[in-house]
Each structure stands twice: as structure tokens, then as C-alpha cells.
Symmetry: D5
Subunit: 151 residues, 10 copies
């Protein structure tokens, strides 16, 4: 087993091992004890684990012990490079796609197989979500799943 | 009143008139008879009106009659230029930000004032939405509203 | 009527007048005497008219006589800017999208209304088309039309 | 034989082995049981195999057994980076070039040798293809093959 | 006096009038009742005024009454286009330069004349600023002012 | 231990070793005898050590002796690539983010954990800092820390 | 007649007038007394006229007298923006396309009509051209002309 | 000797071996039996060899037998990435620089040593080259060779 | 005479008037009382005039009185957009080309006519220039002037 | 000792060995017999050595004999990628920064230590340098050295 020199190497090992072991993201999330969305993002190198969840990840994916520290270091996040929108409100949405996009891809494929969520047969709803710690913006997006078919 | 030479000019006239008249997007949507999300996107030049809704838009915003035809022509859509993600599933999310981003900005500001929807104090949920016409991907995003404050 | 200073101005006048008069591209093509694909590309400023077809365009769209010369000058073509693929075979396909893309958009909208041709529910066929003047590559693309729906 | 750590490594192995063995894409397609277009795209890492076709690929190209899982995971698709057109209809055509471009290159070369499909000596036809599951856009492109010649 | 069609036109009018009248940003801020930093950013089109401060701006800069509404609409913010850093923490700093950069330029020039704040003869300090509403990051940057000199 | 061929390799070794040993940047700074801000920037390859501090770095991180020379060579600095603002005053701020951004990221995470410094719940102050060697621009930035939370 | 404020405006007037008058570049060159290649490049704003040839241009294209001075000022040259090759020898070729490209386009169209010079059915020869003032590189490029055809 | 996994590796081996053996491109061309221009482009990975010339290349450069197949596969061509001109006629010239640029560089250096072909002390001639298989565009470029000199 | 709304408009007026009046930059510099290098840069909108020199500029170029204030406001500087080198030392040289490039172009053309300063027939010298206010870097660049010649 | 496969590998070996041996560029230049500016540029892979100086470089830096040929092959030059100015005169200055920038960085650091040459406390002089082989442009740049200081 190799000593890990950075978080990227740990992420690659997790990705490779998950496929080799045939683990679903849902099962990883159940084992870790967080939502499938946060768990996937964290395993893909976008979030920071605490000592307890890092240890579970090391165990589940048979990682070298040197992964333990890297999983607890705040990683460099985001997957999109290129011209981002300058407006801060618009940018936060671009950032969501940048930080959570690979997670969304993994989870849609896990649930539906290869294909996309349509942006044409699509609707959305934006509403206020009252919250004592400060109201939230709640956005619901619904797009038809369109599968790739072999021909 | 000027004769409109393309859809962009119609969009600019709508945007200018809406602010001058102090109309909320919600009230425009109620008048048009569609959701505030679709109505705003359409008024910002991203969607195509039918004859009936186009006539309502012309009336509500006191537009020159030449707007009537332009509102019914499928427009050139999208607001993001720059390096888009190549993967089709990821691209559909980038496209949602490109096509609906200005709508989201307008509607969050209308409901909350100036500020952003946080991508840090944030969570998301991805689930299957059964539908006889083909199952859909339903994604719910929740982010705390953070206001800009004068200092 | 304004004297035209370049081909772009002629193109904009055609685009504006076609919508104002409610002419379909198909009817323009029948009047000009070429396919709807070539006619649309030419009217959008991508192809060169000869003296006879240029005169028809001037008449159909009530253009100033100065348009007659500009319609017969080979125009600056293409609509895509950005990183193109370096390989010559791949580039030719990128060029087809660049030169004929706006034509494809117009004609699909004319036939189907607002929406897209799916690249997911999609198949293609590549075959040799024997031709005494040199064999040709014949590619057939078939994608489901997906309409935008108001919500 | 090396254990594969991701789909890219599997794709490179297929590409290398195909040339070394002198297999045509047509023969691979016949063996897999799909069209030459889908088969080539899939072997180039753009499509997902099912268990049965993945096993055939592993056998045909003498791949390590670890390839079996990777061939069944939806891959990251697309080969074009750079400024894509923002309009969704135009983008779908750009995506076709991005996802299927390398496939088109392989199959034209397999049929005609080194050269290009002309975008100048070229014509196209766009038509409605009626289909009970939703009408389709059928586009036929025909371009003369132009060979590179040694000099 | 012209009717304003968007916030940009209002901003340009403020910028032109301020120089013509010889008003300092400090004096504008005193009149408006906010800090010179916020006031400058707001006058440069990055912040939203309330009804009271918008009225003061209209009066101070002799703007057409149509400016009143535009000054109260959340504007499109940011001045930097190009590749932004993907990491959210780094991006927030890039955003500060994008949103407040022109303000910083104005205020340094107002205080020191033409020149720059050195990034070489420079030091910085990062510390925790306890706050009952949530602790804050307090960063102090100090750079020598270097004047341009005519030669 | 490997002989270092350039400064980048030394930087990577420091980064890896710091995490493996669990050293805080604050403790490294105390050992080196400089501020945590300068020390972090220097360890991340942005500043030049003198003979004395280079020796301490080699000792603290158990580096091969060949690191000693590289740590004393002025490095290639900056971490941002892409369109920078052309104006020299604005550029110096962009440069601060480019040279010190990774340092800021490390030190905020060390003090607060994973999260960001808000650019929305934010204020700033620009003032003259008198100095006999030439007056300085002193800028104080204060932004609320917003933590990432697992969900 | 308008007073010209810069060279670009003069160039646009020449381009418009040439088409309106139906003058060939060859006839302009004969009138000016230089090659068709240099004359076209100069008329397109890439070269500097002397007093005598500038006067001829003003007369031939009925330009306002203010054009006389602008035609004798060395212009800002080049038409290509984007990533240029860094190597100086390669760059000179990129510069030839940038400075003379629009000239080549005009002259090929004038001789052959709309179409392209093939880069596939193409050959080239590079040789030393002895010259007492310093030997020259002589490159001969030959590409088949491929016409666009209406369909 | 290593088994070649793609054409790039074959190209690198040719480039390295040619310098090590001190072979001129002219001598390689004589051995292969084609022009020095085509031969250099082909050896640099831009053209496809037939069975006979591929065998000569393998022999001349002492390549592993696995190179034989790769040299006969149409390669991915072109060396320029970045914004290409959209117009098809201009693009073909950009493509010539992209595909043949490295060849031009090699052959000018072989004939003249290190330096450039001037784009300033430069002239060009464009003419029709009658040809029964279709007339050709013949362009002659002549630029003074300017040597780099040590100082 | 038009009222100036920003510095760019003033710069354009200076550029137009200088050519119309046939004034050399040298004569402008003598009139202003600064070097030809600083004067040209300032007139091209890169430097700030004081009250006295601004008044001279207004008089010399017959500008509207509103130019007086704009000439004394520190302008937005720089002419290069695109990827700048990240290293601060290298960037300063890029900035010199960005801020002073148009000045260098004007002055070389004024002295030599149309052409370039060679970067091939070129040499440079870097030396320390002792100075009680802090030593300076003195760099001398010498490149042969190469004229464009009509052909 | 490794056999060198290209010039880049030779350059990296020189850079590594120079630091390891503690050789100044000045001493290398004295040994080679050229200016420190040309010598540094050549050692950094921008210039071509002749047989005699190549042999000295191999000896001084203990390089494998295979370096001898590579040092005498004209290298691929330039270090700047991105949008270059299109105008040929401006481009030559951009090219100077691209080709000689790393040399300037090395030599300023060797003479002054870590820091920059100011582009603010800066002046320049452009003059004609008479020369029987063709007059030259002589440009003298003087900028204050600003050191980085640890804090």
C-alpha cells in the first residue's frame, strides 16, 4: 500500500476501489452515517471528514493509514475551470455545479443508469423556506431522465 | 414607439418598463397565467410565447405591435459564455444556470432583496420522481439567504 | 431606406423583415428556387447569391438596391468562436456546426416549434455514397425532438 | 496485465490493442452485436456497456478482468473543450461533435483512408421523421471525401 | 435629461457628474451617510440603495427621476471576467477584487493620487474577530504607496 | 531520500510532511521565527528563505540536503492563471490573491476549519498609514466565517 | 462627407465604396501602381500609403480629405486574436495569416468566386532564394480551389 | 526496445533518433522517396505512411516493429490550439500553419540555421494555376531569412 | 464641441486632432515640458496630468473645457488583455508592454516610419544603476529597425 | 547518466545542476565566452549553441554526451501562452518578454536577490542608434529594484 502524498491520490484510490468492490454510493453513505449527497461529494474530494468518518472511510476502502490525515484536511474544491459569471448570486449557482456536479452525475447514474436529466423537459420552483437561523432559498428542479440507448 | 428589429430589443424594453412601472415578476406571472419562474425566463428572452400570452405581454408593457411576432419566435437562449463542462450530464446543469440563472437572480432578489443564496450553508437532495410519461430526476437545493448590508 | 454598408446589415434587414412579414423559410426557398437549407444559410449571410437570386431576395424583402452588390460578394462565414479541434477531419464537422448551425436552428424551429433535437435519444449512420465525381461520405443523424413546455 | 484504475486506462488499452491486432471497427461491431457507430463510440470511452457486451470486449481485446466493472460504469463523455455555443439547440450539435467526433474520424478513415469529409462540396437535408414515441429530426449530411496525397 | 434604461446608464451618469462637479467620494459618503467604501461601491453600480439614499443620490448628481427606481434594484455585480479560481475560499477573495476593486482604485487615488499599493513592500495579518453573530475573519493588508512620476 | 530537482518538488515534500506530522502553520512559523503569514507563503513556494531559515526548514521537515539551495533561490510565484485586470492598481490586488491566496486558505482553515470568509457579510476600510519610509495603504477586510456542515 | 476620426473608419469607407462602385482589387492596384497583394492589404488597413498613393486612394474612392493623413499613419495591424504560437519562427507564419489573411480571402474570391483553397489537396515547397541583400526563404503553396455550390 | 502504444510515442522516437544519428530531413526524404516537405510532416506525425514507406521509416530509425502499424493509421493532426478564424477560407490558412508549421520550422532551420523568415521584409503573389483536375490557387511567399546571433 | 463623459473620449479626441493637425509627439512633448515617452503615454490615456499640463493639452488640441478635469483623474491603464504571466517580476515586464506599448509604437513610427524593432537582430544588457533613493535595474535593448516596403 | 531525448530535458538538467553547484550565471557566461544575457537565455533553452560552446556546456554541467547534439538544434522558443497583441510592432515586444523574460528574472535575482523591477518608479528612453548595417532602435528602461522582505 502506498503512502498518500495529497488528497487527490486518496480520492483516486477511493474511486478505483469503489468500482472494484462494487459498492453503491448509497451503501457508503449508510456506512458513514451521512446523506448520499454529502458522502459522495466528500469521497470525491470536495468535503472534509472528521476523525470518526475518516476512519470509517479508511476501513471501508482499505486505504493506507496515511489517508486518515488527508481526509481531515480541507481540500481544494471545485471542478469547473473557465469563465465564471461575475455576479455573486449567479456565481453561487455556478459554484454548486462546480462543487457538486460530479456528485450529481454519480447519483443520477446510480439511480437511473447512463443518461441525463433533461434541461428541456424541465421545470423549477423557487420559494422561501422559513428558518429561525435565517430564512433559506429552496429551489426544486425537476427534469425528465433521458437514457442513452445502444444502437 | 420604436419598431423592434429583434428579440433582444423587445427584452430590453420589457426590463426597462417593468422597473419603471414597479411591476413584480409575480404580478406579471399572474397576469400571463404561468408560473413566476417560466414567466420571468420568458420575459428575459429565454422562452417562446404563444399568440395569447404574447398579446398579454405587449399590452402589459405597452410594447410596439412589432413585438408580437418576435415574442413568438424561438429565441437564442443562454447567458453563459466560456468553457462549459464536456460531459452531457454535467452540461445540462451548466445549461440550467445559463438559461435560468438570470431568472433565479430576479426571483431571489424579488423575494429577499439584494444578497445571495449560500452555496456553503447549503444542502441538496436528489431523488426519483415517478412519472407515467417517464420518471424524472427531482433535485431540491436549500441554501441560506445572505443579505448584503450597507456599512 | 438605408444604403447598406456591409453584408451584416443586409442580413439583419432580412431577418427583421422575414419575421415582420411572417414568411416561412420554406416559402423563401421556393421563391428563390433552392433548397430550404441552402436558402436559409444564404439569407443568414453564409452563402453568396448570384445576380438572379440576389435580385429575388431584394424584391422579396423590399431591400434597398445597394443590397444587390453585397449579396453577391462572398461573405465572412461561420458563427462559432472559441477553441476549435485541431484535427482537420474533426474541424470540418465543427465548421459545419459553425456555418450551418443557425440554419439548422431556424429550420427545426420552423418545423417543430421551440425545442431541441436530442443528442441522447439519438443515433447516427455513416456510409459511402458512390459518386462518379468522387465518392462522398453520407451521414444520417436522427434525434428525437424535445419541445420546451411552459410551466 | 495491469489492474485498471479508471475507464481512460481501459480505453487506451483497447485503442492500442485494436491497432496491434489489426482489427477493423466493423469487425468489432459485428462481434459485439451493435452498429459500428455505437460500438466505436463505446470502445472510445463514450458509452456504457452492459454485462454481456463488456465481457465480449474484455475477451476480444485480452483485457485484465478489472476492465469488466469499468466498462459498465457511465463514463465522463465528450472530447471538445473551449467556448461552446450557449443556445441549447446549437449546443446539442456541438455535443454531437464532441461525443461522436472521434468515432466519425475513425469510421471515415476505416472506409476511405486518410482524408476529410468536405464541408465545402457539401449539402444537407433536414426533415421530420414521424415516430410513435415522438417525432424525430432526421438530418442527412453529404460531403465529398477528399484524400490526403503524399507529394 | 435622458430617461435611464438600466443601472449602467445611471452609473455612467454618476461617474461623469462627479468628475465634472469635482466632488470627492468622501464628501459623497458624508452626504449619503455611509462609509466611503460602501458609498463608492454603490455609486459604481455594485450595491443597492434604499429609497432614502437613492433620493439623495438623485439629488446630489442631478439625475433624471427615472434613476430612482434603478438605484433600488439589485444590480449585476462584479468587474472581473476570465478564469476564476475554482476553490470557494479562494473565489471569495477573487470576488472581493471583482466587486470592490474599482472602489479600492478610486479611494486610493483620492487619498494618494495616481500610483499603486505595493504587493512587494507588503505585509498581511489574518486573525479571528470574535462576534456574537458569528466570528469573523479579519485581514489587514499593508502596502507601501508608490506614486507614478512624470519624467 | 530523493535529491530535489526544483523548488516545486521541495514544496510538495513540505506539504506532505506537514500533514503527516500534524504540524500547524503557527508552530512552523514560531520555529522559523517569522509571522504565520510569511512562513506559510514561503513554505508554499512563494518566498525565498535565507541560509538560516532554510536550514530550519530542512531540519523541521526532514528534507534531503539538496533542498537547502532551492529554498534560497527566488521562486516562480503566483497561482492564478487567466485574464488578469490590465490596470496596474487593480492588478496588484489580483497579484495578492495569486501569491498569498493559498496561504490565506491554509490559515483560515487552520483557525476556523473548513469553510469560507464571506464576501457578502463583509466590510472593508481603506486608510493612510503614515510611515517615514513612505506612507502606506492600510486595508482592513472583515468577513464572517461560514463553515461547511455535513448533511 | 464625414470627417474621419481614425484609420478604421477610412477602411470601412473604402470597403463599402469598392463594392458599391464594382471595382476589382486588380483595377485598384493598377491605378495605385503596386501589386494587387500589397494594394489590397493596404486598402484593408494593414499598410501605410505615401503621400502620392494616399491621394490616389482618396480620389478613387471619393473619400473626405481628412482620409489623406490617416492613410499615411502606420496603422494597427493584424486580424487574429487568440492563442498564438510562442515560437518566433512559427509566430511569423501566424502573423502572415493575421496581416495578409483578409487580403488572401479577397483575392481568391476575386479570381475564383466563393470557395476555398484546399489544405488537403495541397502541396508546398520551401527553398533558398539567393539575394545579395541577404538570402530569402521562398515558399510555394499550391491548393486546389474548391467552390461552394448552391443546392 | 519498447512496444509503441500510440503514434505520439513513435513520433518522439523518430525525433530523438534523428538528432542522435545526425540525419538531415533531406536525407530522410531521399531515402523514403518523397519531398522533404511531405516526409518531414509525416515523420512529425501529421501524415499517414503506406506499408512500404512505413517499413523504411522503421528501418531507418531502428524502431520497434510495433511502429509499423501506427505509422499506417491516420493520425490526429494539427499543432495549434486556441481561437481559430471562423471563416472557412481563412481557416484553411490557419490549418496550414497548424499542420505544416513544425515542418516549416524544421526545414528552414536545416537550410539556414537558427532564425526566422521575416514577415516584414516580405512579399507574396497569388495566382491561378490551371489544372485539368481543377484549377489551383498558387501562392508564393518570399521573406528574408534573419539569423539569431549570439552576443 | 462635445462635453467629455470619460477619459477615453478625451484620448480619442487627442489622437484624432494630432493627426489632423500634423503634430509630432516630439513637438507635443516640448510644448508640455516632459519627455516624449511620458508625454505620449499620457496623451494616449495612461498617465495623469497636473493642472498646468492639462491646461496645455486642452489648449494645444482645442479640447472642450470638460477635458480639463478628466486629464487630472488617474485613468484606467493598460492595453493588453489575455493570459498574463503569474510571476510578479515577469508580470512587471508584461505590464510595461501593456502600459507603454502603444507609446513605443507611436515613437518608433515617428522616428523610423512603418516597420518594427527586430526581436531577432537584437541584444540586451541588464545592469545595476546605483541610486541614493534605492538602486535601479537598467536594461538596454537594441534591435534593428526593419521597414515595411510596398511591393 | 541519462540519455537526453529532447532539449527540454537538457535544460532541466542545466537548471538543476547550476543550483546544486552554486554557479552564478555570470560565471557560466565567462566560461562560455558570451554575455550573461545571451548565455542565460541559451542555457534556459531559448538559443542555439555552436559545437564549441555546446561542448563547454556539457563539460561545465557534467551532462551526458547526448546533450551535445540537442544543444546545437534550434529549440522551440518562448514562454508566454495566451492572447498576444496582433500588431507586429507590439508583438515583437511581447516576444522579447516571452523569449528573454526568464533570463531577465534570473539575472535580476542574481544581482539584487528576490524582488522586482518597478514598472511604476520607472522611466524609459527610445532613440535611434545609427548603424552602417541598418539603424537600430535603442530603448533604455530604468526601474527601481523593490525587494521582498520577510515579515
Amino acid at each position: 500500500m502506498t503512502v498518500f502524498k495529497n488528497r487527490n491520490d486518496v480520492t483516486e484510490a477511493i474511486v478505483t476501489t469503489r468500482v472494484a468492490k462494487g459498492l453503491s454510493w448509497k451503501s457508503v453513505a449508510d456506512y458513514i452515517g451521512h446523506s448520499k449527497e454529502w458522502t459522495t461529494a466528500a469521497c470525491l474530494g470536495q468535503m472534509t471528514f472528521n476523525a470518526e468518518t475518516a476512519a470509517k472511510v479508511v476501513a471501508l476502502f482499505d486505504l493506507d493509514a496515511s489517508a486518515l490525515a488527508w481526509l481531515q484536511v480541507p481540500p481544494s474544491k471545485g471542478s469547473l475551470s473557465g469563465n465564471a459569471p461575475a455576479d455573486p448570486l449567479l456565481y453561487r449557482w455556478y459554484e454548486i455545479v462546480s462543487v457538486y456536479g460530479p456528485t450529481i452525475k454519480e447519483l443520477i447514474h446510480e439511480e437511473f443508469g447512463d443518461g441525463i436529466m433533461s434541461a428541456i423537459d424541465f421545470n423549477m420552483n423557487i420559494e422561501r423556506e422559513p428558518n429561525p437561523a435565517g430564512d433559506r432559498v429552496r429551489v426544486t428542479l425537476s427534469g425528465k431522465f433521458l437514457p442513452y440507448k445502444a444502437f
